[in-house]
């Protein structure tokens, strides 16, 4: 029904969400953001799914691993 609206949204977002927020370094302590970019099982979203650019997806990958080590995020959720 509101196909046009959808298409607009798709084009308007364009860039990765960290680029849009002008983030230099993805913060590994920002659990809220990290959990928004991972599944309920604690797995990371793919680039396709998160829409991250290559640079920020690499940073996100490292960040989530630091967060897991510090028991802020689960390695596996039960």
């Amino acid at each position: 029904m509101d196909k046009s609206k959808r298409r607009f949204k798709k084009y308007s977002r364009g860039r990765c969400r960290f680029c849009r927020a002008n983030v230099q370094y993805v913060d590994w302590k920002d659990i809220h953001t990290l959990s928004r970019l991972s599944t309920g099982q604690g797995k990371m979203f793919s680039r396709k799914r998160s829409g991250n650019c290559a640079r920020h997806q690499r940073q996100f990958k490292a960040a989530i691993k630091y967060a897991r080590f510090m028991a802020l995020m689960p390695y596996v959720a039960r």
């Binding site: 370094y25 659990i31 953001t33 080590f69 689960p74």
Partner: protein
């Protein structure tokens, strides 16, 4: 000298009993090897995502400090011997990144920024996955008041 960001996961029982003494263990070690503390303080006290050294809760102490590069190995060695410190992570801050003004973490993605949760997968799998992720997210981002099954052991 470089600037480091250190997060220390402290035994929550000890931290509740005597926060200053518990943190004193960490700061004592840092200062013994010539570290100058910049911004530091209690970061959070929360339920851990998984048990660490059989502890289900932990207190986080976050410190930014300047230290000689060769001191870090010694600091690590000393921290490993202390029982109060369950786990720690010391990272060198990138040269172009200044010490932040507060310990508070600024959230990049707000709750209403929900566009990327749709439009992938489609079909049957989607409904299932979304439901599953909803439930679980509340599980580990909430402050740990949910009932945890204490089966211990096989984590």
């Amino acid at each position: 000298m470089r600037t480091y960001e250190g997060m220390f996961l402290l035994d929550s029982a000890q931290a509740v009993k005597d926060w200053d003494a518990t943190v004193g263990v960490v700061t004592g070690i840092l200062q013994r090897y010539g570290a100058e503390l910049a911004l530091n303080g209690k970061w959070d006290e929360r339920k851990l995502a998984y048990p660490v050294k059989k502890q289900r809760r932990g207190a986080y102490y976050l410190a930014y400090f300047h230290a000689p590069t060769d001191a870090i190995t010694k600091i690590r060695g000393d921290l490993l011997l202390r029982e109060e410190v369950l786990r720690f992570l010391i990272l060198a801050l990138p040269e172009d990144q200044p010490v932040p003004d507060t310990l508070e973490v600024t959230t990049t993605i707000e709750d209403d920024d929900d566009d990327d949760r749709r439009g992938f997968g489609g079909g049957g799998g989607r409904g299932r996955e979304r439901r599953e992720s909803r439930g679980d997210r509340e599980g580990f981002s909430g402050d740990g008041e949910e009932s945890s099954d204490d089966d211990g052991g096989n984590d």
